[in-house]
């Protein structure tokens, strides 16, 4: 109960930070997801207190919606790292779009392939870990891609991406273990909400001040053509050395 109320309070604080200084306009997808979290968890609290008989079913169904809406955070991190109109976005968006589609197909396949659903809980655990794993891979892929191209992160996106990635990956491992052995269930009940509260706390820290990603410095066409010329010259020299 304490964790529940703490989570709702932190979500409320995150919504306030997004509304302050109009941050919701900059981080629209994240704002939508945080609003969903606040509304969903508040409704869950009401159901828990006044309609306890329908609470388990309501919990798992709202969790299923949450799994899909988490993709908004993935999109926000990608969109902020490689902004629309930037050269990196033009170069990478198609390839990364295909990779994201393949990962989603993989998530669906692993979910449907898992036949031994012992209970309603197991169906949701399977859904959560399949998509949680894919979302963690997408976030990690975006972070690694940004590092490869030397894209710097501001405090906002860095905090959001790392906390979310950490939470979904821990959730994936945690619920897989809960499905492996029932003895892990008591830990699952505490570890997941605890890690969620930690993620919300990091998000609040990240959004406390507005610090977006610094703009990507782009080279002009002339510099790129000069680079291509030098690259081709180097390659042909290397070929001459290899095959004299």
């Amino acid at each position: 109960m304490v964790l529940f109320v703490t989570a709702v309070a932190l979500e409320l604080a995150a919504v306030y930070l997004l509304l302050r200084h109009g941050l919701w306009r900059v981080y629209a997808s994240l704002s939508l997801y945080v609003t969903w979290l606040l509304a969903g968890n508040f409704a869950l609290l009401v159901v828990y207190l006044y309609f306890p008989s329908v609470y388990p079913s309501y919990y798992w169904h709202s969790d299923s919606i949450d799994i899909v809406l988490r993709l908004l955070v993935v999109w926000e991190v990608f969109h902020q790292t490689f902004p629309r109109g930037s050269g990196l976005n033009r170069t990478l968006s198609k390839g990364l779009g295909i990779a994201a589609f393949c990962l989603l197909v993989f998530a669906c396949a692993t979910f449907w392939g898992y036949q031994n659903y012992a209970s309603l809980r197991s169906v949701h655990l399977a859904l959560d870990r399949s998509f949680g794993f894919v979302q963690a891979v997408m976030i990690l892929g975006t972070l690694l891609m940004a590092r490869y191209y030397g894209v710097n992160y501001g405090r906002n996106v860095r905090g959001i991406a790392l906390a979310f990635g950490g939470w979904v990956s821990l959730s994936t491992a945690n619920n897989a273990m809960a499905d492996l052995t029932n003895s892990f269930l008591p830990y699952w009940y505490y570890l997941r909400p605890l890690s969620f509260v930690f993620m919300m706390a990091v998000w609040i820290w990240a959004l406390w001040v507005y610090e977006p990603n610094p703009p990507i410095m782009e080279s002009d066409a002339a510099a790129l053509s000069q680079w291509t010329e030098e690259w081709n010259r180097t390659i042909s020299t290397a070929r001459t050395i290899i095959r004299p």
């Binding site: 200084h21 870990r129 990635g165 990956s169 959730s171």
Partner: protein
């Protein structure tokens, strides 16, 4: 079973990767966004620091050439006096730029842009020291002339630049979409 075990292992590996990246640290702090620096110079009219010919103003070559000819000594003295007035005027403009930048920063913080007490105190310290240095340069120019401390005088412009970057760091903490509103409010408050 293999499927679930694999997810448990991969989940832990991914979690470890995020922890590793988080521990590696972020980008360098304290460097303002270049667009924020441009916006500050657009919002505030910095007359002193926009003057580009400080080097020429403080160059004594013309004065020395005139001095080398005894017939032109009077003209050399006149040039020196005029240069002295111009340099003093430029330093006064730099002082006024510093005050304007400090007022702009205070205006941003007053409008709710986040800043820590430590930052505010270090800004005040930088303002006081820069101002004191400019007063000292002014005194030295009045007593020994405009060509005595050319290097120190040239570097006076950099004091305003560093103060301007401080204001840009604060401005960069609000979304670029709000800068136009800041510019309007600043113009209204300055009027």
């Amino acid at each position: 079973m293999i499927n679930v075990t694999l997810f448990a292992i991969l989940g832990l590996v991914l979690f470890g990767s995020f922890i590793f990246i988080a521990l590696q640290g972020g980008r360098k702090k304290g460097l303002p966004d270049s667009s924020a620096v441009r916006a500050v110079t657009q919002i505030i009219n910095l007359e002193g620091s926009s003057f580009a010919n400080a080097r020429r103003l403080l160059d004594d070559t013309d004065y020395q050439t005139l001095c080398s000819n005894p017939d032109l000594r009077k003209l050399a003295e006149k040039l020196r006096r005029e240069r002295k007035q111009l340099v003093l005027m430029w330093i006064s403009m730099l002082q006024s730029d510093l005050i304007t930048l400090w007022q702009f920063r205070r205006f941003l913080v007053q409008r709710g842009v986040p800043s820590s007490l430590k930052e505010e105190l270090s800004t005040l310290q930088a303002l006081a020291m820069s101002f004191a240095l400019l007063v000292f340069i002014k005194l030295s120019i009045r007593t020994v002339g405009p060509f005595a401390l050319p290097r120190a005088t040239r570097q006076a412009g950099q004091l305003v630049d560093s103060m301007s970057k401080g204001a840009a760091v604060v401005l960069g903490r609000i979304p670029a979409a709000g800068w136009a509103e800041i510019e309007r409010s600043w113009a209204n408050s300055a009027a």
